[in-house]
């Protein structure tokens, strides 16, 4: 038996606030969709060289969008930032620049309307990246173990095997991560219909249990009013008949350990352990569908500080994330073979031998440890850097965290 991958020490990147990252990205961030083309062109020569692209699309004064941009650009995986603005948009770019600067990161801002337009802005941006990249190589390294890791858990494109192979295998991994002192976040409160009572029974305090039930009930009410749940064509073709059947399978990802809190997007866990991320808006229907697609929820988990995302898929999702690299766990061997360039782990083996589920969990653990130590995941190596920030509205979850004072502090 080889060494437990979760006790291995690896080198992370030390940030001024003491947090440690598993990547040292230079992130180019556009502050309105009108600046996306210029921002993307700036990154093109540096594809797969550690330069990532994120942005906020809307020309709308969105406090929520602003907060998520702040949290992503001061994420421990981010070493330096280039902001790209058009100039006349509603986004508070000076505030964002000041926040990133105050975090101790190198940051520069380009305003297209003040820089002579598209071509000159692209040239200027690429010159800044060429200057920043060598400096990032001198970032201070610091030792990390699994106890320092925050891992986001997601499923996308579920089929009937997701809840039998991939999600239970991830559940075993989650228990091991938490036992090693690490932290896991599960989102998709709109895919836990029917699991609320069981999850609440695992809560560390009665207040957290009540917060779980309230949060999932809010998701149900919101989706009933929308007339649409997180359940669609691919799920049905794959053999799932109801949202609660899909939910029961998704729930297996979060293992068996106690639940330590309920978070909202951008809020960091107040300690180690297992957390539920509320991703359904605290508003009337004005913000529309809360789970537009998987990268939307994955980006919300990244904004909570997840270093990596473990993403199970049955039908075969190929997406990544710009700040938090995504590890793909296939639910069945046929899809794993069809999409082998995209999948990191084949959990289809879980039903192919008596100890298959354990073997799949072992492989997930090994791949997470390798990715944390710097090995690119499949989606990362393919250049996937999906990131999606919508507008939205959330109230802090009353009683959602064990230590509200500490939770407030992490949000400040």
């Amino acid at each position: 038996m080889s060494e437990d991958p979760l006790t291995t020490t690896f080198d992370g990147f030390l940030r001024a606030d003491g947090r440690r990252g598993v990547r040292n990205w230079l992130v180019v961030a556009y502050t309105v969709y009108c600046a996306e083309h210029v921002a993307r062109r700036i990154t093109e020569p540096f594809r797969l060289e550690g330069v990532q692209l994120i942005g906020f699309d809307q020309c709308y004064p969105s406090d929520y969008g602003h907060e998520l941009m702040e949290k992503l650009l001061t994420h421990p995986n981010v070493g330096a930032v280039l902001l790209v603005s058009l100039g006349c948009e509603e986004f508070r770019r000076s505030d964002l620049l000041a926040t990133v600067e105050a975090s101790g990161r190198e940051v520069h801002s380009i305003v297209i309307q003040e820089s002579g337009g598209t071509e000159k802005s692209i040239e200027a941006g690429q010159a800044i990246i060429s200057k920043f990249l060598p400096r990032l190589e001198t970032t201070t390294r610091a030792p990390m173990t699994a106890a320092d890791l925050v891992i986001g858990l997601e499923c996308g494109g579920s089929d009937a095997l997701s809840g039998i192979t991939a999600n239970p295998a991830v559940g075993l991994f989650t228990d091991r991560l938490i036992d090693a002192g690490g932290t896991a976040i599960i989102e998709e409160t709109n895919e836990l219909f029917g699991c609320e009572t069981h999850l609440a029974s695992r809560a560390r305090t009665p207040e957290i249990g009540e917060a779980v039930v309230r949060t999932i009930k809010k998701a149900m009410d919101y989706h009933r009013r929308l007339g649409h749940a997180s359940f669609g064509g691919g799920n049905i073709t794959g053999g799932l008949s109801t949202i609660e059947e899909k939910s029961a399978g998704a729930y297996a990802k979060c293992g068996t350990r106690p639940l330590d809190g309920v978070l909202i997007p951008g809020q960091r866990p107040s300690g180690s352990g297992l957390y539920l991320l509320d991703t359904v808006y605290d508003s009337d229907l004005r913000h529309g569908i809360p789970n537009i697609h998987d990268p939307h929820g994955v980006t919300a988990m990244a904004a909570c500080g997840c270093h990596l995302i473990v993403f199970t898929t049955g039908r075969g999702s190929v997406v990544g994330q710009a700040v938090s690299p995504v590890i793909k766990v296939a639910s069945n061997s046929a899809m794993y073979q069809r999409l082998d360039g995209d999948m990191d782990v084949n959990a289809g083996i879980a039903i192919e031998s008596p100890d298959g589920l354990q073997a799949a969990a072992e492989e997930i653990t090994r791949i997470v440890a390798r990715a944390a130590a710097g090995d690119p995941t499949r989606s990362e190596a393919l250049g996937h850097m999906e990131s999606y920030i919508s507008d939205g509205y959330f109230n802090p979850v009353p009683g959602g965290c064990r230590n509200p004072a500490e939770a407030d502090e992490t949000r400040a």
């Binding site: 219909f193 794959g238 949202i243 609660e244």
Partner: protein, 93 residues
């Protein structure tokens, strides 16, 4: 293995290959004859499931029978309804 029963309480099993009508499947301790074509990953009734009864998978209710489902029948959208949200929308592939 033709099919998997996820919890002993379950009244459905998940087939692990496409099953043709009249095929006999070894499910747990007994044989069940499939009444319908059942695609890979879909559910087959292990017992007769009367209308209104819960569909049990993982030992958890995952929907309700909207008509009587005979042992060996395909259990899916045509005979299952969600307790939480109807699936009335058109879904596309």
């Amino acid at each position: 293995m033709d099919a998997i029963v996820l919890n002993p309480k379950d009244n459905v099993a998940v087939v692990l290959r496409e099953v043709a009508p009249c095929e006999s499947l070894q499910i747990g301790e007994g044989d069940v004859t499939a009444l319908d074509r059942i695609p890979y990953g879909h559910k087959i009734a292990r017992h007769d499931i009367p209308q209104g009864e819960h569909i049990l998978k993982y030992g958890m209710p995952v929907g309700q029978a909207k008509s009587d489902i005979p042992r060996g029948g395909h259990v899916h959208m045509h005979n299952v309804v969600s307790v939480y949200m109807d699936n009335l929308q058109e879904h596309y592939e």
